[in-house]
């Protein structure tokens, strides 16, 4: 996996984590306006980063795999190390 791709993936993981944290907080505090605002902002950022990543490097999950050939199998497999990929 090249450096740029790894960076993009890490950014996506970071924002996913933030969304997840806000969601867990909101489970216990469903009307907290600051948490809701944080969640909405993070979800939007996640959506943008995901779209950008998938456009450049292919699908993250097979729900967004498409095209004339099966793009899902074109990315690295989980057991492939960085050099192989």
């Amino acid at each position: 996996m090249n450096n740029e791709r790894a960076q993009a993936l890490k950014k996506l993981q970071i924002i996913s984590f933030a969304v997840n944290e806000a969601a867990l907080y909101l489970d216990g505090h469903p009307t907290n306006k600051m948490a809701l605002a944080f969640y909405e902002k993070a979800v939007k950022e996640h959506k943008d980063l995901l779209a950008k990543y998938e456009k450049t490097y292919g699908p993250i999950t097979f729900f967004s795999a498409s095209g004339p050939s099966w793009t899902w199998v074109q990315g690295p497999w989980p057991w492939q190390n960085e050099r192989e990929a």
């Binding site: 970071i14 933030a18 907080y25 216990g28 505090h29 944080f38 993070a42």
Partner: protein
């Protein structure tokens, strides 16, 4: 519940505290009669005094509120009747924000004896997303690494 926000150009903004904010001092400790407690107000004041304008942070509304000097608050009997804030850098404490904050720092009323309670967790004092990711939590207050024997009180 709160009066509407005052226009920002006023010398101070006065937030009326609702009558439900009933507190009762009780031998150095306090009992929460309803939603808000005296310790919350004391906490707000002491934080503001301690941090002053240094607590100001563009990204955190709560820090901005804490940074606003609390001019005075009024207790009549068991009631907190009003709080006055000095606006800071055009930021005027917003009633809704204060209400959220008071709620988050208060225990529920009518708690039972012999039960353990976890305080409400406020949504503030956050890491930036990247630090949160590497620390395993976005909440600074929940970043509690296990220190083994070093963390044990003796």
């Amino acid at each position: 519940m709160w009066r509407k926000q005052q226009p920002p150009n006023k010398a101070y903004s006065k937030q009326e505290i609702p009558p439900q904010a009933q507190i009762r001092a009780c031998g150095g400790f306090f009992t929460v009669i309803d939603k808000f407690s005296l310790n919350t107000v004391v906490f707000l004041c002491s934080y503001a005094v301690e941090k002053g304008p240094d607590a100001y942070n563009d990204n955190d509304e709560v820090s901005r509120l804490f940074a606003c000097p609390i001019l005075r608050f009024c207790i009549k009997g068991d009631y907190i009747t009003s709080m006055e804030f000095e606006p800071l850098n055009d930021f005027v404490p917003n009633g809704e924000l204060i209400e959220n904050l008071l709620e988050e720092h208060s225990f529920p009323s009518r708690i039972s004896l012999a039960m353990a309670y976890v305080p409400y967790q406020p949504f503030n004092n956050l890491y930036d997303n990247e630090t949160g990711f590497s620390r395993g939590t976005i909440f600074k207050a929940l970043d509690l690494p296990f220190l083994g024997e070093k963390g044990a009180g003796k």
